[in-house]
Symmetry: C2
Subunit: 222 residues, 2 copies
Amino acid sequence: MSDIKTIDVKADIIETNDTYTKEVRAFLKEQGVFLINLMASPGAGKTTTLIRTINALKDRYKIGVMEADMDSDVDAKLVSETGAKVIQLHTGGSCHMDALMTIDGLKNLGIEDLDVVILENVGNLVCPAEFDVGANLRVMILSVPEGDDKPLKYPLMFSVSDILLVNKIDALEVFDFDIDKLKDNVTPLNENISIYPVSALNGDGFDDYIAELIRRIEDEGH
Amino acid sequence: MSDIKTIDVKADIIETNDTYTKEVRAFLKEQGVFLINLMASPGAGKTTTLIRTINALKDRYKIGVMEADMDSDVDAKLVSETGAKVIQLHTGGSCHMDALMTIDGLKNLGIEDLDVVILENVGNLVCPAEFDVGANLRVMILSVPEGDDKPLKYPLMFSVSDILLVNKIDALEVFDFDIDKLKDNVTPLNENISIYPVSALNGDGFDDYIAELIRRIEDEGH
């Protein structure tokens, strides 16, 4: 997989992030690209979700992927097998992507021939929520094994996300996880969030999620 | 549970952390207290592991707990039911505890009557690995649903930990997780780490882990 480009990006401080957020938004608009920021804990199923999403959308859109990782290339290799244009971003130990890293990544990826770019953020429920990378849509994943109490402990991530995928519902019977309790914990933080129980492994629940993605992408004029 | 003390602690920068690490170590030595830093992703089972650990050790040692959380008190309430002396630390949005927050926490907890203090760090596989809080022992948890590839993606956490608990082995049959593959991924990063497959839910595998904890605590002269 030697065709996967790798660049090293450095963290910028949170205060100056907003300047670059505007720059990302202007660049996306100019290029006619819709950017999705995909966020979750390590092991929640980001990469499996990403691959299933690409496969569902790739006949309709030209898709690019930015794989943010602290220093490995594991996910980029897997994702490139979908045929999407993939770039690996090394955050140099930073626990999140910021807007400066994002614009750097978009330019290195080369987005002039793309419709949709998905950023797979660093696995983390904390830092990525604090840094607005200028995406058109923020999708977060909470997986069943993590527990239905997580909105109480990591509220910001649930507050800033547009879509919440509740992943690994195929494992519901072995975990003490209550979807209604989860919804009760999320709603006070964010009443507009769309919640989809899914299994990225077997595809259950994905149709409705993909339909909303397409609607959101079309609403932006793509 | 109004007897749970809550203080707000602020993040210090990584460069000055080392000064405070020495201060934490000196304070622990002076007070004869053994500090365990417990780290993991959100939902890996930190609190369940902590409660089972306290129950296994509480006849032998006087135990204190520092519950680090961004802004909730969920875990502290549960943990205080074990009878351990518990303090809630709010990190004010920071994704980890540092040594300055730790010394602040230890002083507010009051450790003169304790033998062992366990710090439940913020749920995060990235930042807590970067900040040495001055603990005598670093225990990390990786849960089966997170996947056996995590050492490749979050290497620092596996490098700095003394003990790795592979939690939720009761769910092994529903996940594609290979313990041998995990060990192959961990060993190049840290050949001295002790690995224990456990179920914090039903207690499987805990005896060996607890035996090592007691050995480590005794080795420090407690």
